[in-house]
């Protein structure tokens, strides 16, 4: 399943926006690797830069609002940053594709479902209309929608939310991409449908050996289907490691807080649910030093002065002064 071949490498990626209030560091020096067949979960609160990170990977952010985009995104060794628009179009949808959060608005209301599926196939696989149509009916069937022939001729408004998300998955996977970016694919769905959709994503990506970047704020989902996890806070990855490592041995106080705030079935019912005090900082006005330090129960004087350098421990990386030895803290 998961091999050692690195398929996507993000090095020091930064994306800043310019706004009326000042510069917003939506993504700040983010680095991670994605291996062939790996499922990477990116977790973090709303506004921690998860979505911007993924839009940056696909280079989908309009250049007019981005004031600074630095770093490297190496897809199979090619730097996405240096590609021009038409080269990017060759990759988008074909090699790297994406599923959005809200299936209700991510399909074009004026196009038949099969036409939307056919668009990808015609664009990237050079199929003629007839074969593309047959293929799209097959895809609809493949994602578990009954009566695919009739369904293909329908319009998005005749589909339920879960079905639309299935169509989005079919669309995203129609060209057997190397990487699937799923941006909170289940947030807008019914709880009963969420599990089905996640199963579908897992099954299909396994079948096609597609690597997945799953953005979510649901730790349960992460524990269920991810191999590795990156925890984001205020635009930076604060902790990165395998699922087992992160859940059994969380090192960053933020990750610890997140895990503690998940309600547990086996916990006592009169126990009050843990929550991290305070709220995420505004990305315009980040606190000095470690961005989490104002909310951190273990904050030290150094935390407010300098951003902690990354401490690497095998596959487990963490940015926290707690794990640095005294002399490093200087």
């Amino acid at each position: 399943m998961m091999t050692d071949e690195i398929i996507l490498e993000v090095k020091n990626l930064s994306t800043y926006f310019h706004t009326e209030q000042g510069q917003v560091k939506a993504v700040d020096h983010v680095s991670f690797v994605l291996r062939d067949g790996e499922t990477l979960g990116i977790v973090g609160e709303s506004g921690s830069g998860k979505t911007v990170l993924n839009l940056s990977i696909l280079r989908l952010l309009p250049s007019s609002v981005t004031v600074h985009a630095g770093g490297q995104i190496l897809y199979r060794g090619r730097d996405m940053m240096s590609l021009n628009e038409s080269e990017l179009q060759q990759i988008r949808g074909n090699k790297i594709s994406m599923i959005f959060q809200d299936p209700m608005t991510s399909l074009n209301p004026y196009m038949k479902v099969c036409d939307q599926l056919m668009e990808t196939l015609i664009l990237h696989q050079g199929l003629d209309k007839k074969t593309a149509k047959e293929k799209s009916v097959e895809l609809i069937k493949h994602v578990g929608i009954p009566d695919p022939k009739i369904r293909a001729e329908q319009y998005p408004h005749q589909f339920s939310g879960g079905m639309r998300q299935r169509v989005m998955i079919a669309m995203a996977l129609s060209c057997k991409p190397d990487i699937l970016i799923a941006d909170e694919p289940t947030t807008a769905l019914d709880v009963t449908i969420q599990a089905q959709i996640l199963d579908l994503i897992r099954e299909l990506t396994r079948e096609m050996k597609t690597s997945v970047i799953l953005i979510t704020h649901d730790l349960g989902v992460v524990a269920g289907i991810c191999d590795t996890v990156a925890v984001m806070y205020a635009g930076r990855i604060v902790e990165y490691g395998t699922v087992d490592e992160i859940f059994s041995n969380p090192r960053h106080p933020y990750t610890q807080g997140l895990i503690q705030s998940v309600p547990r079935l086996d916990g006592s019912s009169d126990h009050e649910l843990f929550s991290i005090p305070g709220s995420p900082p505004s990305l315009v006005n980040l606190p000095a030093g470690c961005h989490f330090q104002p909310r951190c129960s273990k904050a030290m004087p150094i935390c407010a002065e300098k951003y902690p350098p990354e401490i690497v421990n095998g596959n487990h990386r963490c940015c926290c002064w707690l794990w640095h030895r005294g002399e490093d803290r200087g």
Binding site: L58, L60, P62, S64, E85, S86, L88, Q89, Q90, I91, R92, G93, N94, S97, M98, F100, Q101, D102, T105, S106, L107, N108, P109, Y110, M111, K112, E119, T120, L123, H124, D147, I150, R151, E153, Q154, Y155, H157, Q158, M168, M171, A172
Partner: protein, 343 residues
Amino acid sequence: MSSDNLEALPKGMSLFQKALSRFFKNKMAVASLFVVIFYGIVALLAPWLPIHGFEEQVLDHQNLPPSLTKNGGELLVERLRFELEDRAGRENRSLTQQENEQLEKFEAQIRSDPKHARRYLLGTDYLGRDMLSRVIYGGQISMVLGLIGALTSILIGLIVGGISGYFGGRIDSFLMRFVDILYSLPYMLLVIIFMAVFGKNIFNLVFALAGVSWLTEARLVRGMVLSLKNSEFIQAARVIGASTPRILVRHLFPNVMNVVIVFTTLRIPSFILMEAFLSFLGLGVSAPMASWGSLVEDAVGSMTIYPWRLIFPALAMVIFLFCMNFLGEGLREAYDPHSEKIL
């Protein structure tokens, strides 16, 4: 879907088809549609209809009243008899021998000339031209002007608004400031100056009208494109690797079209009205051509004596405008059943 057949899946139905089916449930709108179609057919078939030419003058038949039963000659005889009897009545006498002879002579003279057999259902104007024909041909010009004007301004608005909304940034502010400047100028004055400089003809008229009226369309389209371009399905289209022209043509325009169609329908009457206004000022269509506006203008001076010359073109225009507005309103409601009068 019938209730005993819940298992059957409904056929694929686009939003457009849905809108149409809603539209056809709106009785007023459908009735208006039929009236508009009738106007259109009459205007199209005008050259083949059994009516007189709109520029044919019969100077003897000036200002004849509308009549379903009598031809032009009979109306002239009647008019002469009325004049003679009126004079006699005022002098308290019956018609003299001489006057009766005059009448008979006139009648014989009229019978001998075939041109007096012409009939005028809606009367004639001051040059003896058939009002029915002039109203029909005038309608032809008014409708074509309205249609071409609305289409041209929508086209300009679509291009400018589309570019402005989609590309945003500096292009957007430049184009929108330009629109703001044009907005702040009195548009009728611009049209009048344009017509004065480039001469009075139909093309210049349409061009001038379209040139000043695409502003609202541009703003409308820009607003729609702005909200659509950030919608997820446009982003999804970019994610699958569609190029910008493809996104514009396949994804963006179909979504803007519904509003554009509705707006065009509502725009046609305003163009007809603007043209009527300009014709009324003497800047519109020039003789022997006619439009509803110019017919009204011709008739206003003598409306107390020959009211039919005013009533018929005005009525034709009012009915048409009324129906166009109902039609546009019906379309708007069909496309967007939840909204209340947003345009």
